[in-house]
Amino acid sequence: MNEAGSHEPQAPKLNKELKKNIQAIQETLGNPSDLMIREFKCHNNNNISCAVIGIDGLVDSNQAEDFIIKIMMVDMPLLEGQGDSKQEETTFNLLYQFRLSMIDTKIGQNFDDLYSNLLSGHIIVLVDGEQQLLMMDCKGYMIRSTGEPTTDNSIRGPKDCFVENLRTNTAMLRKRIKDKRLRFDSYIVGEVTQTDVAIVYIDGIVNPEFVKTAKERIQNVKIDGICDSSQLLMLIEDKFTTFFPRLLSNERPDKITAELLEGRVAIIVDGSPFVIIGPASFNMLFQAVDDYYSRPVIASFQRLIRYLAFIIVILTPALYIALSTYHQEMIPTVLLLTIINQRSANPFPTLIETLIIVILFEILREAAVRKPKGIGDSMTIVGSLIIGQTIVQAGLVSYIVVIIGALTAVCTFVISGSRLYNSARILSLIFIVVGASFGLFGIMVGCLLLILHLCSLSSFNQAYMAPVAPFNLHDQEDQFVIFPLSWMKKRPKMLNPQNVIREIDESQLQEEQQ
């Protein structure tokens, strides 16, 4: 199972003497306070010495006591003499084959096995005179109960979300996809943290290239440790300097299920409730789970609003600057007169005014995210009411710029469900600079460059702008407008799934049976 950590050649073997083994463990781990070692004599073959070792807090000590220590210390002596045929068995085999009734029990050979399992919440059983060890999964640490998703909210749809525990997360997916072809490929990432990572896909649907790419990239990650899936996400993204997310992450099991069904790959990282999805395309940034739980007409409208909001965020401030400094003839006369009147008392050029508002908003936003929860209200009052009101009265900026700043800010919230939000803010600043320097011409060139840039991106070696570029007529059903679910009989062609048709027809079933 642990492909990354199991085949190192010079792993030190266990000592034959139990005492020396225990000593070695204590020395290696620095005899920490959470290390539990229970030594006892097994009242079987010549009172052989045994030890049960675990980490306090990681293991369920009740389970360990009931099913391991109690059996070895109390039940085994009682049973002696009944199963006479087992007399020839060594204590170790006896324990493994007949006595220890834990479901996930493995035999380890060396200290590496011992440490990696011990530190991930296994109970280790050592027997004097044996160079093997028993490892039993007995994880019992505290995990957060599954709450409501905090990032990708939906009005309808399931309210559960992933947690920090990988096993709970895989269970949630299993619960949703009761298909024998659901696969979890496990890897370990991080030399020090030894974080468990699982690639999830549905065999028979997914394009095997994606699994291969994901596997190669995860195995090539050289890092001492990762704290969250977003770090892994950045490490395995396609290498190209950009601020668009080439892989997505989501904490909703229903979303991940849908993506798996379309033929994508998910990557679960232990310790993070955010599951990575790949390959991603640009249009996925505008998808929300609600799109699939509402009527198609309404969902299409909502999605178009999101596209519009994105365009407003990146272009409005730049357009305002360009129009008001270079192309005044394009502003309606009355609006122009109103702007002139408002701005006649402002000392700064339009660019500076706009930057003041945009950066002020960024500061407020950052403050809102970082502030401790208790002081939220006072920040709202100071930030929005006092600054917003007085900045105009003080003559620092004009009303129209405040309107544009506020409009942009509200629109960023519309697209904030995904990481697109961050890209849009940076793009907005770039367009402001370009618009202030080159006017509409600059904005137009900027838009062209942006489109070229987007078309050059890839995600898991798949075109990022698909299905727009390269164009794919079939996949338009989930692009700008959403077709009714009953019309979407096929999976997205751009992902080249093994099985294109969503419903398995009878001929395919027969093939499978053969």
């Binding site: 006369t333 007169l337 109103t338 002139i340 339009t350 320097s437």
Partner: protein
């Protein structure tokens, strides 16, 4: 990396910031009047006072006027900049008023100025000032309404009230019509009624009945780029019926010298056919619409009577059309109804032959007019007893 930094630096170093104008420094010109002087041209520019439009009605006036004189129109325009701290900004121009004297000499100079390089938007109305100078027209304060965009400019309100004599031609239309051989230009004419001198006084917008008002009920006809004569109100209406440029046309007639009948046409169909051999232009005009005034005591419940009323209207309409067409051929000698254009569309080869002589052929032609008026709505009260 160096290249990227250099590229980004270009944004700031090589920018076109030279064209940059900060908005508060703009002086938005809403209308200009062009007069002929001994030195050349006199431009009167009406510049909007943004404070007033944006709602701060202090003691200021909505607009102020500056004048510049020069050998060419552009030189005169440059002179304007010496008179104000603001950048004289033409793109938002709504109206250009040309004095009658200048229009007679030709408006090609003006179009050249407007279309060549000063970034005037093409949706500018050109008007000819009748009996007054263009400078006078620019200096009339118009009471208008209190809604800012309507009092924005004293001139652009003119055309909104033009009813059936309104014409709407942008600069490109005007330039096209001047160049075309088979059609001629007609624009609005503007004049000042009342006390011309009072127009520039603040009192003009303070009094409930302004002493000086702008009026545009006539049209100015051109031959090529030269002004040839005004069409009075009646003629203007007839002109519009022939060309179908407005949406509603009113015809009034008096029966037995005392009963007034007014008819508003809502549908207009005009067919113009030319027979060059017989030197005849056949006009077939059909109007459909509703009765508006009806003092003639006749039973309208009888369809025959409605037809009878229509006959009275037809007589009047025919009279009006004959007047305008005769004026067009005999007095103005200019093809107001794009007859040449219609020949071109029907028979391009023939038009090629006569194109160069059209100016002399047209005045020799005679009009043969048939009209038909259909009343399809007599209103809620059929008979008033």
């Amino acid at each position: 990396m160096k290249k990227v930094i250099l590229f980004c630096a270009c944004f700031f170093i090589l920018t076109g910031c030279g064209n940059k104008i900060e908005i508060p420094s703009l002086g938005i010109v809403s209308g200009i009047g062009i007069d002929k002087t001994e030195k050349g041209f006199l431009i009167t520019a009406q510049i909007v006072n943004p404070d007033y439009v944006a709602g701060n009605k202090t003691n200021k006036l909505p607009v102020f006027v500056i004048q510049g004189e020069g050998e060419s129109i552009f030189q005169a325009y440059r002179m304007l900049n010496t008179l104000t701290t603001k950048v004289v900004f033409l793109p938002h121009l709504d109206v250009m008023v040309v004095s009658e004297e200048l229009a007679k000499e030709g408006i090609n100079d003006i179009l050249d100025f407007a279309l060549r390089n000063v970034k005037i938007r093409p949706d500018v109305n050109i008007l000819v000032a009748k009996d007054v100078t263009a400078a006078d027209v620019m200096q009339v304060l118009d009471a208008g309404t209190t809604i800012p965009d309507q009092e924005l400019n004293t001139i652009s309100g003119i055309c909104a009230s033009c009813e059936s004599v309104k014409l709407s031609k942008n600069l490109y239309d005007v330039a096209n019509l001047i160049q075309k051989k088979g059609a001629n230009l007609v624009v609005n004419a503007v004049t000042i009624t009342g006390d011309v001198a009072m127009g520039a006084e603040e009192k003009n917008i303070e009094l409930i009945n302004s002493p000086a008002k702008l009026e545009t009920k006539e049209l100015a006809a051109f031959n090529e780029d030269k002004f040839v004569g005004f069409l009075n109100y009646q003629e203007s209406k007839a002109y519009n019926i022939m060309n179908g440029e407005s949406r509603k046309y009113v015809i009034s007639t008096k029966v037995e010298d005392k009963y007034l009948i007014t008819f508003e046409a809502r549908k207009n169909k005009v067919e113009i056919k030319t027979d060059l051999d017989q030197k005849k232009i056949t006009v077939n005009c059909e109007l459909t619409g509703a009765l508006m005034d009806m003092t003639y005591p006749i039973d309208l419940e009888d369809p025959l009577n409605i037809k009878k009323v229509a006959t009275y209207l037809e007589e009047q309409l025919k009279k009006e059309l004959i007047e305008i067409t005769t004026k067009s051929t005999d007095e103005l000698k200019t093809d107001l109804f794009s007859v040449g254009d219609k020949i071109y569309h029907e028979d391009p080869k023939k038009w090629k032959e006569i194109e160069s002589d059209w100016k002399t052929i047209y005045p020799e032609l005679t009009y043969d007019i048939t009209v038909k008026v259909t009343i399809n709505d007599v209103g809620d009260i059929t008979n008033l007893k």
